[in-house]
């Protein structure tokens, strides 16, 4: 489906661990949204900061006609968005971008999520599970308080390993620490990851070493999110040559083995 520009009524807004979860009514987006795609949301109407912000779709409920995003209310824009309540509306464009590729056959997949980057994977896990796949996840955060904890993830994953930088939950360490062992144990078809760039880079490194294809949802500054400004370009190797591809259009999901890390 082509993306739409929409004024969407807020259905709910709630604390979600350390984060905020915002759910809006947008039936046509809910129908077509794919895991890994994003919404570009106006976060300061009438303010001096004009650009929309991209948010991974954390859930699309086709029956209810709603879509949800989860974010960290750290800046003026995300704090404004976090303060929206039922009765308010938000102005959004979506669904945008090329999401995760999901094959139809059954198999075992690994998900690697860092912080609120896990939101996109929660949506993906539900999709993989619905197709009869077996999903294992490693999720990480700086500390227990910043872990992305989601019932949908619990319901759809066969196992979830937790890693924190400070050891306040799960094991102390990085999400990539248990990855080689998990690859040996499960022989996954694909490693799917979403989180901060250093985490994605490390994940791609382990995936390449072990000959497992990876699909990474990247975070880049995006002025437009719709393919025309070229600010969100990422160096990618395609057909033997280096190209700058747009995180908003060819991405945000890229093959880990194709990204030319700086």
């Amino acid at each position: 489906m082509n993306p739409v520009i929409r004024t969407a009524p807020v259905v709910s807004s709630a604390r979600f661990g350390a984060y905020r979860k915002l759910t809006v009514d947008a039936p046509e987006i809910a129908q077509s949204a794919r895991p890994g795609q994003f919404l570009n949301i106006c976060v300061q109407p009438g303010g001096a900061y004009l650009l929309r912000r991209p948010f991974s779709i954390a859930r699309a409920d086709r029956t209810a006609g709603t879509v949800s995003v989860v974010f960290d209310p750290v800046g003026a824009g995300t704090q404004w968005l976090g303060a929206r309540a039922q009765g308010d509306t938000v102005d959004l464009v979506g669904p945008l971008g090329h999401g995760f590729d999901v094959t139809a056959d059954r198999g075992i997949d690994l998900l690697i999520g860092g912080g609120y980057g896990t939101a996109a994977l929660s949506f993906l896990a539900a999709e993989l599970d619905a197709r009869g796949g077996e999903v294992h996840a490693i999720i990480g955060a700086r500390s227990r308080a910043r872990l992305y904890e989601d019932e949908m993830l619990d319901e759809t994953c066969a196992s979830i390993a937790i890693m924190t930088d400070d050891g306040s939950a799960g094991m102390q360490g990085l999400v990539t620490d248990p990855l080689p062992e998990m690859i040996k144990r499960f022989s996954p078809r694909v490693i799917y990851a979403c989180g901060p760039m250093p985490m994605l880079r490390a994940t791609a490194g382990v995936a390449v070493e072990n000959n497992v294809p990876s699909q990474l949802a990247v975070e880049e500054f995006m002025a437009c999110g719709i393919g025309v400004c070229w600010t969100c370009a990422l160096p990618v190797r395609a057909n033997g040559s280096l190209k700058h591809q747009r995180a908003c259009t060819e991405g945000p999901v890229f093959a880990g083995e194709a990204i030319a890390w700086a």
């Binding site: 880049e220 002025a223 393919g227 370009a233």
Partner: protein
């Protein structure tokens, strides 16, 4: 009702004065998901060069108050691929196109103009003489009246459509450079390109762009753009100007026409309001109806300065 918004742009006739700013609308394909392209006077396409360019490394953009900085480095597929793919796509849909061409030498511009000769649907060529992100900024054509005249004359001689020179606001005497372009044969002027800016992250001490500096665009630069159009129109009243820089509403477009613009390009606003160009094109007719304006000739350059 029924205001005639059509304009003459150096020999080209456009249905209305609202066009797109180069680099802010691709070649229309992505934006056609949000905008009825036929509602616009023309699409001014992203700058192309003789050979494909990879562009610079990220980070390529940063938001600033009422605007943004960019440093893309003219990433493009090359003029031939642009002609065969993008211009063909626009021509098949009957959407008038203005190509934007760039380069490092007069020969680069001439080469682009030659490749575009006879291209269907092409109504004009804009020479991007003022991209702030090339490797050797001191070499920017639009910084010098002599070099601007040299490239304008060579492109004019090679082209079968009107030639517009896109100039930079970052000069001491813009009127002298505009006069040099027109004296050398330019059919019109595009004012303004981005102005050079910089932003630094106070926590990391790092520049927010990989190049250090970049082009500032958006409403933050609108007063500079209006001033530039006004200064040049006052000196060269017979020359059509495509005015741009922070235009995001119908009122902004009228302001630009009052300063002397013949056409008005929408740039950065497309990024955050994808349908804004069509809304301004449609809203312009309503504005004219409401204010009893029957032709934009009654508005162009009619700013009143009292004092």
């Amino acid at each position: 009702m029924g205001v005639d918004l059509s304009i003459a742009l150096g020999g080209a006739r456009l249905a209305n004065p609202i066009v797109t700013a180069s680099g802010c609308f691709g070649s229309g394909k992505e934006m056609s998901r949000f905008v009825e392209l036929h509602s616009l006077g023309a699409i001014v396409c992203k700058t192309v060069t003789p050979e494909p360019r990879l562009g610079i490394s990220p980070p390529r953009g940063a938001e600033t108050a009422s605007g943004m900085l960019n440093a893309i480095g003219l990433q493009n597929p090359g003029v031939e691929a642009f002609r065969d793919n993008d211009l063909t796509w626009l021509a098949e849909r009957g959407v008038p196109a203005i190509a934007s061409v760039g380069g490092h030498s007069v020969a680069d511009y001439v080469r682009c103009v030659e490749v575009l000769r006879g291209a269907p649907g092409l109504v004009a060529i804009e020479l991007n003489l003022s991209c702030p992100n090339l490797e050797d900024r001191g070499f920017m054509f639009a910084l010098s009246d002599e070099r601007t005249a040299e490239v304008a004359a060579a492109a004019r001689a090679a082209s079968d459509v009107p030639i517009f020179c896109k100039l930079s606001p970052d000069v001491t005497d813009l009127v002298a450079i505009a006069e040099a372009a027109v004296g050398a044969g330019a059919d019109g002027l595009s004012l303004i390109n981005t102005t050079l800016g910089m932003a630094i992250d106070p926590r990391t001490f790092r520049s927010k762009l990989s190049t250090g500096t970049g082009g500032l665009s958006g409403p933050a630069i609108k007063p500079i753009a209006v001033r530039c159009v006004w200064q040049v129109h006052r000196a060269l009243g017979h020359i059509p100007i495509i005015g741009m820089g922070g235009i995001s509403t119908v009122e902004d477009a009228i302001e630009m026409i009052l300063a002397g613009a013949t056409a008005v390009a929408i740039g950065t606003a497309n990024f955050y309001e994808p349908a804004v160009s069509e809304q301004i094109a449609l809203g312009l007719a309503d504005f004219c109806d409401m204010h009893g304006i029957s032709s934009l000739d009654e508005v162009r350059g009619q700013v009143k300065i009292e004092g």
